[in-house]
């Protein structure tokens, strides 16, 4: 009864179980890679769609990201989580899609942004607690998509990686080739801009939107 059962431990440890799947996929087990796809495809697609704001581009990104991941599993060292590694590939693919869109004049992630510039807050109103509960899943998705769509790609990409994908500031900076200060500055602007857009929807009924007294 006191004997240890490493195989049981491994099976119940999600990280070890995932590494085992990656190993099997690396050795040509397509079904194992299929399990990784099923686990992460929705998140990759959501991220790609939020960055590119386009369904077709998101599908292309999804396919390219998984194909490249499958093709380069040997280069996955297991030092980061598989999803972080996959995210890096998907983000690069998403940014390439954005850069290919010549009509979009705001796609540069390298755009010079004054990090010392004061953040702007124009509208202030109290929200209900859990305002999203007033809406269906589909409605809330549309509200959030519309708000994020209005952000410049440089802001929304940082926001998605930090606040939706929950990567660290350092991981985000490294992934996007930005400084830590640039990530922090862009994240603050993204958060405040989204807050303003959502305030127009989520403010408590009867609550006035006021200007910010500095």
């Amino acid at each position: 009864m006191d004997h240890e059962h490493p195989e049981v431990t491994s099976a119940t440890d999600p990280a070890a179980a995932e590494l085992a799947l990656v190993d099997r996929a690396r050795n040509g087990d397509v079904a194992a890679f299929g399990e990784l796809i099923s686990k992460y495809e929705r998140r990759v697609y959501r991220m790609a769609r939020q960055i590119t704001q386009n369904d077709e581009d998101a599908e292309d990104v999804l396919q390219e990201a998984f194909l490249k991941a499958f093709g380069h599993l040997d280069s996955f060292q297991g030092q980061s989580k598989f999803y972080t590694w996959l995210t890096r590939i998907a983000v690069n693919e998403s940014l390439m899609k954005l850069r290919k869109r010549k009509s979009d004049r705001t796609v540069s992630l390298d755009e010079n942004i004054e990090t010392d510039e004061e953040p702007i807050v124009r509208e202030i109103a109290v929200w209900d607690d859990n305002p999203e509960l007033r809406y269906s899943q589909e409605e809330i998705r549309q509200i959030l998509d519309k708000a994020i769509e209005g952000l410049k790609p440089i802001f929304r990409t940082v926001f998605i990686l930090r606040d939706v994908e929950e990567l660290s500031t350092e991981e985000t900076a490294e992934m996007l080739g930005l400084s830590i200060a640039a990530v922090k500055s862009r994240l603050l602007r993204a958060r405040l801009q989204l807050r303003e857009k959502l305030t127009r929807v989520f403010k408590r009924k009867g609550e006035q939107i006021l200007g910010y007294a500095k």
Binding site: F33, E41, L62, Q63, I89, F159, L188
Partner: protein, 85 residues
């Protein structure tokens, strides 16, 4: 003495709970006395929460099927055609 501008500048770290304890105490004192900054802080926190809580949509079935069939035709190490990043 923390001003509203100071508070906004520190908002990210305050929300991410990465400010040092002394500064955090000063920031907390400020929002307890400044209704505008309290609202900004509260609604920004809710903005992040609502995005974090957003469930990823199910993939359209044809998208999933196309992806699976592309992978099934490949073998590891023989596809991708690009950088490994």
């Amino acid at each position: 003495m923390i001003t509203c501008k100071d508070f906004l500048r520190e908002l990210n770290d305050f929300l991410d709970e990465t400010t040092d304890p002394v500064l955090r105490a000063e920031l907390e004192r400020h929002i307890n006395e400044c209704p505008n900054c309290w609202v900004i802080c509260d609604t920004t926190k809710k903005t992040i929460q609502v995005y974090k809580g957003m469930e990823a949509q199910n993939l359209p079935e044809p998208v999933h099927e196309r992806l699976m069939s592309m992978i099934a035709k490949k073998k590891p190490g023989c596809c991708g055609g690009g950088d490994t990043h």
